[in-house]
C-alpha cells in the first residue's frame, strides 16, 4: 500500500471513529501543516489553536475530501491553510503587512529528519521559480502565505489583476508539472 492509499485508508477508518487512523494521519502530515501554519501566523499559540481546529474539522468531516481535486495531503493542507488565513484576518488579532518569508519565522528548529523526497521537491520548486522570475514567487507567497486577494496583490505590486492572474497561473503550472503523477492522485 503506497502513501496515497494509506492516507485514504486512514480517512475510511476515521469515518468509523477509529482514533488510530487519526493518529496515523497526524503523524504523516502534521509536520507540514505545522510548518505552513506557523509560517503564516508567526506565533506558536495561534498555530496550535489553528491546528487543533483543523484536525477537529478533519476528524469530524473526512467526507469533505474530494478525490477528484487531488491527494489527501493537499486537502489537509487546504483545511489548515484556510483556517490560518481566517485566523490572521479575524478581528482583534495582530495583522501584518508582509507574508512570512522562509527565514522570517520565529520557529524553533528546522526538522533535520525531513526526508530526501521533501528536500528534492523543495529544490525543484526553487529551481522552477528561479527560471520564472522573482515576481512569480512573490505573487504566490503573497497569495498563499499572506492571504491577499488578486486585487490586493496587484495594488501592492503596482500592476494589473490580469497580470497577477497570469503570473500565478504560469507559476502553478510550472511547479505542478514537477510533481510525479503518482504523488498527486
Amino acid at each position: 500500500m503506497n502513501g496515497q492509499e494509506r492516507d485514504r485508508s486512514c480517512l475510511e477508518g476515521m469515518r468509523t471513529g477509529d482514533t488510530r487512523a487519526l493518529e496515523e494521519l497526524y503523524e504523516r502530515h502534521n509536520g507540514l501543516l505545522y510548518s505552513v501554519v506557523l509560517r503564516i501566523l508567526r506565533e506558536a499559540q495561534g498555530t496550535e489553536q489553528v491546528l487543533r481546529e483543523s484536525w477537529l474539522q478533519i476528524w469530524r468531516g473526512p467526507g469533505g475530501y474530494n478525490v477528484a481535486r487531488g491527494n489527501v495531503g493537499a486537502w489537509l493542507l487546504t483545511v489548515a491553510r484556510n483556517r490560518a488565513i481566517a485566523w490572521l484576518k479575524s478581528d482583534g488579532l495582530p495583522q501584518r503587512a508582509e507574508p512570512a518569508a522562509g527565514g522570517d519565522v520565529p520557529a524553533p528548529t528546522e526538522d533535520a529528519s525531513a526526508n530526501a523526497a521533501h528536500r528534492q521537491m523543495s529544490e525543484r520548486v526553487r529551481r522552477a521559480l528561479d527560471v520564472l522570475g522573482p515576481q512569480h514567487r512573490q505573487v504566490l507567497e503573497l497569495a498563499y502565505f499572506g492571504g491577499l486577494t488578486q486585487g490586493e496583490i496587484a495594488d501592492r505590486l503596482n500592476t494589473s489583476p490580469g497580470t497577477i492572474k497570469s503570473w500565478s497561473r504560469q507559476a502553478l503550472v510550472r511547479i505542478g508539472d514537477l510533481v510525479p503523477h503518482e504523488d498527486w492522485t
Partner: protein, 280 residues
C-alpha cells in the same frame, strides 16, 4: 447551468491559492456544483502546483507536547459536541408523565414502568444517534464516490470519443542512439475536443540523474507538458487535462533532460529522443 466563460476558468487560479474575493468564490463554487469538467480539470492541474509550492516550505520541528495536546483536545471536543448535540435532541422530545392518584403499590409499579420506559428511550435514542451518524457518513461516502466516478468517466470517454487520435511516438536518430535496439513504446491518446490526453509508456526508465520530458510541438514552438516518471519497470500512464490547442498542435515529442526538466518550459535543453505527428 451557468455558462462556462474564460472569466470563470481564470478564477480557478485564485481558487487553488485561496485568494478569491467572496463574490468570485461564490460564483465559482456555484458553477462547480453544476458540474464543469473544464474547470475541474483546471483546478486539478493548478492544485498540484499549489500543493507542491506549499509542500516545499522548510520543515520545522513541532514542540513534542503539542501532539498530545492537539489529539487529546480533538477527541475531547468531539465527544463534548456529541453530548451537547444529544442533550439538545433529548430536550426536543420531553416524555410526558401524567399526574394521577394511585395506591402505593400501583405507584411503585408505575414508577418501575417509567424507569423501564426511560431506559428503553435512552437505548432507542442512542441507537438512533448511531444510525444517524452512519447515515451521514454513508451520504458523504456516496458524494465522494460520485466525484470519483465522474472524474473517471471523463477520462474513459476519451477512448471512445470520435475526435480522439492515437499517436504513436517513434525514436528519433538521437533516440535510437540512446535506446539501442529496444526503444520504449509511447502512445498518446488525444481528444481534440476536450484537449485531454492520456500518455501510456513502457520501457521508459530514465538514466540516473535524468528525466524524460513531454512536449507539445505547436506552430509557435514547443510547450512543456511535464515530466514522465515511469515506475521501476519503465511503465507510466499519465493524464493531461490540457495537452494543447488542436488548431496549433502539430506533434508530441519527448526529450531527455537533466533531473527536474528543461530550465525553460518553451524549449528542450536535452536531445529529443521520440516524436510523433498529431495528424492535423
Amino acid at each position: 447551468m451557468t455558462p462556462h466563460t474564460e472569466e470563470i476558468l481564470e478564477r480557478c487560479t485564485g481558487y487553488v491559492l485561496g485568494n478569491l474575493s467572496d463574490t468570485e468564490l461564490g460564483a465559482l463554487e456555484a458553477h462547480l456544483k453544476e458540474g464543469c469538467p473544464a474547470c475541474e480539470a483546471e483546478i486539478h492541474r493548478l492544485g498540484r502546483g499549489a500543493w507542491a509550492f506549499a509542500a516545499a516550505t522548510p520543515r520545522l520541528l513541532e514542540p513534542s507536547p503539542m501532539r498530545t495536546r492537539i489529539l487529546e483536545g480533538v477527541l475531547r471536543e468531539s465527544r463534548e459536541r456529541e453530548v451537547k448535540k444529544g442533550q439538545r435532541e433529548g430536550r426536543r422530545a420531553p416524555i410526558p408523565f401524567p399526574r394521577r392518584r394511585s395506591t402505593p403499590v400501583f405507584g411503585w409499579l408505575a414508577f418501575l414502568a417509567a424507569v423501564v420506559f426511560a431506559v428503553s428511550c435512552v437505548i432507542e435514542w442512542r441507537a438512533a444517534s448511531r444510525m444517524q451518524r452512519e447515515l451521514s457518513a454513508a451520504g458523504e461516502e456516496v458524494t465522494r464516490l460520485n466525484g470519483e466516478i465522474q472524474s473517471e468517466r471523463q477520462w474513459t470517454a476519451i477512448a471512445t470519443a470520435p475526435q480522439t487520435r492515437v499517436i504513436q511516438l517513434a525514436p528519433t536518430p538521437a533516440g535510437w542512439a540512446q535506446f539501442g535496439a529496444t526503444p520504449p513504446h509511447v502512445r498518446v491518446t488525444y481528444d481534440s475536443a476536450t484537449r485531454q490526453a492520456i500518455i501510456s509508456a513502457s520501457g521508459l526508465a530514465a538514466p540516473p540523474g535524468k528525466d524524460y520530458q513531454l512536449w507539445a510541438i505547436t506552430n509557435t514552438g514547443p510547450v512543456g507538458l511535464g515530466l514522465l516518471h515511469a515506475d521501476r519497470d519503465g511503465r507510466a500512464t499519465i493524464r493531461l487535462p490540457n495537452a494543447g490547442d488542436p488548431f496549433t498542435l502539430s506533434a508530441f515529442a519527448i526529450s531527455l533532460e537533466n533531473e527536474g526538466g528543461a530550465p525553460t518550459p518553451t524549449a528542450p535543453a536535452g536531445p529529443v529522443v521520440m516524436a510523433g505527428k498529431s495528424g492535423t
